[in-house]
């Protein structure tokens, strides 16, 4: 089982994602912004990151840039609130560009997230 850093500003979304991950035995550390996520990443040791995009202080794209810029190859699953065809979702393709391993769209079901986690951990 993996130790996962969850970066998400909405407490409700964070709770639901944490519960999905915990239900299969992953351990989760939560951060409410990119900035906080970066701090926790430096302090701890994680197998993967699950990150939102649109967050205050430091958004998911900036967080990705920091991580990949520092040469860190940790697997990242981006969870996006945008619909694939709406203008705001430009951040989702952007996330892939900046090194997200997988982007999945909210609202997702338990299996979808777990499948994504499994696939990035397997790589």
């Amino acid at each position: 089982m993996a130790h996962i850093l969850l970066v998400e500003d909405s407490p409700e979304v964070s709770l639901s994602v944490r519960e999905i991950l915990a239900s299969v035995g992953h351990t989760v550390e939560e951060a409410a912004s990119g900035k906080e996520g970066l701090k926790r990443l430096r302090a701890g040791k994680f197998d993967a990151i699950v990150s939102d995009i649109w967050m205050p202080e430091m958004d998911g794209i900036a967080l990705l840039k920091e991580i990949r810029g520092a040469g860190n190859e940790i697997p990242v699953v981006v969870i996006s609130g945008g619909a694939p065809n709406a203008p705001l979702t430009y951040t989702a393709p952007l996330a892939a560009t900046f090194g997200a391993n997988i982007v999945i769209y909210k609202p997702f079901e338990k299996a979808e997230l777990l499948k994504a986690i499994d696939s990035v951990l397997a790589d």
């Binding site: 909405s10 639901s16 609130g81």
Partner: protein, 632 residues
């Protein structure tokens, strides 16, 4: 007239005694002039044939009777002149005729009676010619005086120059100090025109007449323009001997001519400029029974296909499209009321096609206070503009729709996430961990409520019906809204409320007032991350001209609602976009990005103004201006 025939009489010669009567008769008969012989008493003794007409002019004069008529007047005049003892000679008019009169006192014998011979030679033709000359000379003099003409004459052989008095006036000289000679004259001529003037003189010497020969002189330091018209005089042998002519000061005329030239040039430039204008220009007069086109420029012609003259005849009837008469009526109404305006109308071209035109009409007020009778029309083809604007509007609509749907989708997706995930997880835990399931349900319910709020906000924003507005005591509404708010704010947020607008009324909608207060205060609290003091102040403000102009508001009494936070503030980019729907900087689930746009559109609906001032890390001030109204 000679009288030597009478002087040849030798009255002493005895041979003549008998002869003299006959001689006298013969002499009288031979004289071509009318002649009479009178005695000392004035009795007509004899007359010749030419005298008959004169004798009969007045009353019938009869030999042997006292003389009557013109001869009597002549005799008396001669007597007055000489006392009757000496010959007299004078000119005398009888009616329209003139006579040269010679009278002689005659005594045929020493003891004979004293007689008087009166001879009257008709000199009417000479006299009339003389009068004519004198009269025409006087007329010429008068005419040159009136026309301010100077006259000159140059005798070629002697180079003698004769100037009329006005010639001296024209040249600013006096006959006493200026000896007019061809050489001295050349000195007066403007140096640049001397060659020209010499040319005129050479032409004259070649026998040519001068017509309107213009040149400049320097008169007392000032340049004057002169004009010469002259001709050459020839003697009986056809040899030229003198030049003669008139001279005129045409300086004023020249100045007027120059002014006219300038005016024409300016006119031409204006016409060229108008023709270069990318806007169609027409000048219309309403002096006649219907508006008449006075001028159209090149662009107008290009747009409509009509030139000035072809439109002048038909007026604007030619441009009116059948299906757009109404707007044209408005144009004519503007003309009739001397006002202007901007009109959008369909314009017919000469070839029958049409275009959408923006027509701006402006009255030309040449007499302030009087109705304008001249109007300038500016016309533009806005067919393409309109199409472009529609496309732009369409694309803006699509962009806004995209932003709106994207924003709503983002919010709802985030709220659906816990609903979907926790309901799925909860099903597995119903028996094993009911406490956890209960917690899941709480989160699901709270997410559902939030989703409901989002949908409501979207509906509020999208709603097009106008809410009922009425005059309310604004202080009461704001207090109520703040009381409702308190419970919804995080415990760390303190409100410092000042309400100083007692009795002030505003035409608003109470629900909208609480929406505005709620949105602004929540934003302020969020900017401080739920910890700090938000100042809320409701006050009255009397805006003077300058203060009102700075805000683009009408001067007068306004109600101001100020919401101040000392939070994170906004940069210029954010500040420029805050009123856009779904523009948000807030955490997911905490803001829809609709709050400020909703507040903005509500305040605008009241005829008010919502204005934000912000500085990064210092805080933000939201100012709402609401027009004060009288109590209902």
């Amino acid at each position: 007239m000679t009288t030597s025939a009478a002087a040849a009489f030798d009255t002493d010669a005895p041979a003549l005694r008998e002869f003299d009567r006959l001689t006298a008769q013969a002499l009288l008969k031979a004289m071509p002039s009318a002649a009479v012989v009178l005695d000392a008493a004035g009795t007509l003794i004899a007359h010749n044939v030419p005298a008959v007409d004169l004798l009969q002019t007045h009353v019938l004069a009869v030999v042997g009777k006292p003389i009557e008529g013109p001869f009597r007047i002549m005799a008396e005049r001669a007597r007055r002149m000489t006392g009757g003892d000496a010959p007299a000679s004078f000119e005398h008019a009888v009616g329209n005729s003139w006579y040269h009169i010679v009278t002689y006192p005659v005594r045929a014998r020493e003891d004979g009676p004293a007689l008087q011979i009166i001879a009257a030679a008709d000199i009417s033709p000479q006299k009339h010619a003389e009068f004519e000359i004198r009269e025409s000379e006087a007329r010429l003099e008068e005419a040159t005086r009136i026309a301010q003409l100077g006259t000159y004459k140059l005798q070629w052989d002697t180079e003698a120059v004769q100037w009329s008095p006005h010639m001296y006036v024209i040249h600013g000289l006096s006959p006493d100090t200026f000896p007019a000679t061809p050489e001295s004259y050349l000195e007066l001529v403007h140096p640049e025109d001397r060659e020209l003037y010499e040319g005129y003189r050479r032409n004259q010497f070649e026998g040519k007449a001068l017509h309107g020969a213009e040149y400049r002189i320097v008169r007392k330091g000032a340049v004057r323009w002169l004009r010469l018209d002259g001709r050459v005089l020839f003697d009986a042998d056809g040899e030229p001997y003198a030049s003669f002519g008139t001279c005129q000061d045409i300086t004023e005329g020249k100045q007027r001519e120059q002014e006219l030239k300038n005016l024409l040039r300016r006119n031409a430039i204006l016409y060229e400029a108008l023709d270069a204008s990318p806007i169609g220009v027409a000048v219309v007069t309403t002096e006649g029974p219907r508006p008449e086109v006075f001028y159209v420029n090149a662009e107008f012609e290009r747009l409509t296909g009509y030139k000035t003259y072809s439109l002048a005849k038909r007026s604007f009837a030619a441009l009116q499209a059948e299906d757009d008469r109404g707007e044209w009526e408005n144009v004519f109404r503007a003309l009739a009321t001397s006002s202007g305006g901007s009109f959008e109308l369909k314009c017919l071209r000469r070839d029958g096609t049409s275009f959408l035109a923006n027509l701006q009409v402006a009255p030309v007020r040449d007499h302030p206070g009087r109705d304008a009778t001249v109007f300038v029309f500016n016309i533009r083809d806005i067919t393409e503009d309109r199409q472009r604007a529609e496309l732009l509007l369409q694309s803006q609509k699509m962009e806004a729709l995209g932003q709106l749907s994207g924003g709503v989708a983002h919010e709802i997706n985030n709220l659906l996430q816990p609903v979907l995930a926790l309901s799925e997880l909860g099903q597995d835990l119903i028996d094993s961990d009911p406490a956890k399931v209960r917690k899941y349900f709480e989160v699901i319910a709270s997410s559902g409520r939030k989703a409901r709020d989002v949908v409501r906000q979207v509906l509020t924003f999208a709603r097009r019906d106008v809410p009922q507005l009425a005059a309310y005591p604004i202080a009461v509404l704001v207090s109520d809204a703040i009381n409702l708010l308190h419970s919804g704010l995080s415990p760390g947020t303190r409100l410092n409320v000042t309400i100083d607008a007692d009795g002030a009324h505003a035409v608003v909608n109470p629900t909208q007032v609480s929406q505005v207060v709620l949105n602004l205060v929540k934003n302020a609290a969020d900017a401080m991350h739920g910890a700090g003091t938000v100042d809320v102040a409701l006050m009255l403000a009397d805006l003077d001209q300058a203060a009102a102009a700075a805000l683009s508001l009408q001067p007068g009494r306004w109600i101001t609602l100020r919401v101040i936070d000392r939070g994170c503030g906004m940069d210029t980019y954010t500040l420029s976009r805050v009123f856009e729907p779904f523009f948000t900087t807030k955490l997911a689930g905490k803001g829809t990005g609709l709050g400020l746009s909703v507040a903005y559109s509500i305040v605008m609906g009241w005829g008010g103004l919502l204005k934000l001032e912000s500085e990064v890390d210092k805080g933000t001030t939201a100012m709402v201006y609401i027009p004060a109204a009288s109590a209902p």
